[in-house]
Subunit: 113 residues, 2 copies
Amino acid sequence: MSESGFARTPLPPYYAVMFTSQRNDQDPQGYAATADRMLELAQQQPGYLGVESVRDASGFGITISYWESQEAIARWRAHGEHRVAQEHGKRDWYEHFEARVAVVERAWGKRQG
Amino acid sequence: MSESGFARTPLPPYYAVMFTSQRNDQDPQGYAATADRMLELAQQQPGYLGVESVRDASGFGITISYWESQEAIARWRAHGEHRVAQEHGKRDWYEHFEARVAVVERAWGKRQG
C-alpha cells in the first residue's frame, strides 16, 4: 500500500497534488487494494514525478503526488480506472478529504550521513 | 505533537510549505515538546492559515502549513526561536527531510454527513 519514503523530484518548478483525508473504518482490504493499484497506475502516467504518503493509526493521512504539468494532473484525474476509484473513495472510504493543486516554486532538503 | 485534523483554508491562491521527514529515534520528548511549541508559535504568526500534519509509527511524516504570502513564510522561517528549532531538527532529530514551498491554485473537498 502506498510506498513510504521520499519522492525524488527534479528542480522546481513542478506541480503537487496534496490530498489530506480521514478514512472511515469500512472495507480496509478493498481500500488497500485500490490504493496499491492507484499507486501502480499513477507511476505509469506521463508526467508523473513521485509520491509521498503517510497515514497514522487513526486513519488520518496525507498523500502528495508530484507532476510535471497541469496537463499531466488533468489526464490522471480523468483516467477511467482512477475516476472509478475517486468515486468509490468519496462515497465509501473517506469521512472527509481535502485536495489542493499547487505549483512548487522552491525546494531544499538534507539527508544525514 | 502537532494537531491532527484539517486546515480551514480560504479560497486559493495561498501558499503551502510541505515538509516531509524521517525522524530518527533520538530524543522523543525533546522533539515532541519543540514540535508543540513550534505549532503554538506558528499559529501566532501574521499570515498563518493552518496546518495539517501526520506521522506514522515508523517516524515518517508529512506536515503542510498554509500561509497568505511568501513574505509570511519568509518571516516565519527567520523567526529566532523557529531558527533554533530548525537547526536542532537538522542536526539531531531528522534522518532526512525535504521541504517545498508552493502556491496553491485550486482546492476542493468533501465531508460526509
